[in-house]
């Protein structure tokens, strides 16, 4: 019997993986080949999807970009025995793109059937939770602080401090909320966790609950991710059946229940307080802080709210120890970050590496340059609210503090590559337009500023490059940065100003001597 893996992650599905799976089953039956089809997660090497893998004595051999029409020819070539074919990419674990990564959080991704609890526990799953169940909650929070883990959603706040605050708060009910409203273009690491290794997130949330004394958890997933929602719901049901959830977590006195809540297409709900409002069933309007959610969160109760990757990284920290995790990285950026190489890139996918890697390395060693084959010109790092980095900044190590020095943000590690046909003035205008579309409307700088910003950039693009217009744009951005309640209005100027500073020619402005030198 041959075991063949066809990914069920939505990236593979979007390229026809279901049809490939059906074709393999049909063809195997026709030829009388005994095949066991496994629907695994994605390895995150999206440029190879659908990546079909065949188990052999030497390891799992991959066949890339398989379409249903290729299946008969693959069988003819003996792919079910791992034989040669144009699409054969060799042993998947040996592909440099994968082999050279430092996969801690994503160690199991794509290897397992996302919904198999046996697969999960066979590859280290639940080890972290079992450790935590023998520990005192204070020690758990302390260990998390020791690990150096900072919020992976973008704000990079130390997770251990958040947990300690919630643990120390007195309340009849506390909550764990997972922010899975991954709305930033150029990001898919949360989605990959939810669809390809959901138990890791569930384990991380249970650990959080046990540590701070919370008995209810919610995963708020955006409505644009129906596959994630379906996979999580099935995984939670199975975890409950297996005794991880409910009145007694793995037979202990800890109780924890977990629910999935579905967003409804509002980008600003990725902001934690807007998310809490939405979770309560209301309009996703940002709350003023303080009070912080750790003290006054969901329904006014102390709440740990962390991003998917933050919570999904918790299990390995407790399985292998805080020091193990802390030993990766540089400066105050400890551990690894799943970089997401996206946009105009030849080899897009997820690359988990310790902090300190450079954009140039990610873009060329992993990304293989642009998809268009044209020179890369700008990379937007950290989502729609991150800056556009010109080539002169591609050698800065990806580290929260090093990036902050040049006014850039690492954010959640999403990289969107643009080639030399891009127009940064157009992208700046789009940034303001998007802010106008998605502003919750609570504060004036964001609500009004975004619309005015779009208008001013439009005027500049139409040829009014007078000092007056440029000054107006800069002052408007300044007001938004200093006067907005949250990152939506407060950071929309980042892409705008970086476009103006580094690519003035796209706005019809001359380059300064310093820019010419760079």
């Amino acid at each position: 019997m041959t075991r063949i893996y066809v990914p069920i992650d939505s990236a593979a599905l979007a390229l026809g993986a279901d049809a490939v799976a059906r074709a393999i089953e049909g063809e195997a039956q026709k030829r009388g080949v005994d095949v066991q089809l496994v629907r695994n997660g994605s390895r995150g090497l999206f440029y190879l999807e659908p990546l079909v893998e065949v188990e052999t004595a030497d390891g799992r051999i991959g066949y890339s970009n398989v379409e249903a029409d290729d299946v008969a020819a693959l069988f003819d070539a003996g792919f079910h025995e791992g034989k040669a074919h144009d699409k054969n990419v060799g042993i998947v674990d040996e592909i440099p793109y994968l082999k050279n990564q430092q996969r801690l959080t994503f160690a199991r991704i794509g290897i397992t059937d996302p919904l198999s609890i046996d697969d999960y526990t066979a590859l280290g799953g639940l080890q972290g939770l079992r450790q935590v169940l023998d520990m005192n909650g204070d020690a758990v929070c302390e260990a998390l602080l020791d690990s150096g883990l900072r919020g992976r959603g973008g704000a990079a706040f130390p997770a251990g401090i958040k947990w300690k605050t919630v643990r120390a708060a007195h309340a009849d009910q506390k909550y764990i909320v997972c922010n899975a409203d991954e709305g930033d273009s150029g990001t898919f690491s949360d989605r990959l966790v939810m669809e390809s290794d959901p138990y890791m997130l569930i384990e991380g949330m249970i650990i959080a609950g046990v540590a701070v004394g919370a008995t209810k958890g919610y995963i708020y997933v955006r409505s644009e991710y129906p596959h994630s929602i379906a996979t999580l719901n099935r995984a939670i049901d199975k975890a409950r059946d297996a005794g991880w959830l409910g009145a007694s977590v793995l037979g202990t006195s800890h109780a924890f229940e977990l629910y999935v809540a579905k967003g409804a297409g509002a980008y600003v709900c990725g902001e934690e307080t807007a998310l809490l409002e939405s979770l309560e069933g209301k309009r996703g309007i940002v709350r003023a802080k303080p009070p912080v959610p750790a003290l006054t969160g969901l329904y006014g109760k102390p709440t740990v709210i962390n991003n998917v990757i933050t919570l999904a990284t918790v299990p390995i920290i407790f399985a292998k120890g805080a020091a193990f995790y802390r030993d990766f990285g540089m400066g105050r950026s400890r551990g690894t970050l799943p970089f997401q190489i996206a946009g105009n890139v030849n080899q897009g996918g997820l690359v988990e590496l310790a902090f300190g890697v450079t954009l140039r390395e990610l873009l060329y060693t992993y990304g293989g340059g642009t998809a268009s084959g044209r020179p890369a010109r700008a990379v937007q790092v950290g989502g729609p609210l991150g800056t556009y980095l010109p080539e002169s900044q591609w050698d800065i190590p990806l580290d929260y503090e090093e990036y902050a020095k040049v006014g850039a943000v690492v954010g959640h590690g999403g990289l969107v590559v643009h080639d030399d046909t891009s127009n940064l003035a157009e992208l700046a205008q789009y940034a303001m337009h998007f802010c106008a579309l998605e502003s919750c409307g609570k504060c004036t700088p964001c609500r009004i500023g975004s619309t005015r910003g779009e208008e001013v950039i439009a005027k500049i693009r139409e040829g009014d490059t007078s000092v007056k217009q440029i000054t107006l744009l800069r002052e408007l951005c300044d007001t938004m940065v200093s006067g907005s309640l949250c990152a939506m209005g407060g950071m929309t100027p980042f892409p705008v100003m970086s476009a103006l500073d580094h690519f003035p020619e796209d706005f019809g402005l001359p380059r300064t001597p310093a820019q010419k030198a760079a």
Partner: protein, 162 residues
């Protein structure tokens, strides 16, 4: 534009079934839209009553979120990602192609049987441009691939309704 709306009695029945204990307004709205394809105006009053909210509050939530629609969807709904990663791979040119091919405009409702909707990120940013047609996800979309998928969606709908 007027649309046939569910009767008040039918809406009241929908709300009664989905307004279970502890369900938030958002949860109930999702359940209703998942079942009938939209949130009928006639559901607002019973929702307000069931949750002890004002009708304005219910209306406010429905209209705040892009996902909720107040009218039945078109027979074919195309949701094209217009965000940065897809822009870097020519989604704006694809948008022009789609408008030309279907004769419809993006984000302008639907008089015909096709609705074109801009969305911002479907999580397939390494495989741009991406889109959904009637909820089915597609990546690395080219104009030719769009034409093929659009024709297939129309045929499928025609078969279902025939």
């Amino acid at each position: 534009m007027t649309h046939p709306q569910l009767s008040a009695a039918a809406s009241a029945e929908l709300v009664r079934r989905h307004a279970v204990q502890d369900a938030t307004l958002m949860t109930i709205l999702h359940a209703i839209q998942d079942e009938v394809g939209y949130v009928p105006d006639t559901a607002i009053a019973p929702l307000a009553q069931a949750l002890s909210l004002s009708r304005a509050e219910v209306h406010g939530v429905i209209t705040y979120y892009h996902h909720f629609r107040s009218a039945p969807p078109a027979r074919v709904t195309v949701q094209l990602c217009r965000a940065e990663a897809c822009r870097s791979m020519g989604t704006e040119a694809l948008k022009d192609h789609i408008e030309g091919h279907t004769g419809c405009r993006f984000d302008s409702g639907h008089a015909e049987d096709t609705e074109l909707e801009s969305v911002f990120c479907l999580g397939q940013c390494a495989l741009s441009p991406s889109m959904m047609i009637n909820g089915e996800l597609h990546a690395r979309v080219t104009p030719a691939k769009f034409d093929r998928l659009y024709a297939a969606a129309q045929t499928k709908v025609a078969e279902v309704t025939a």
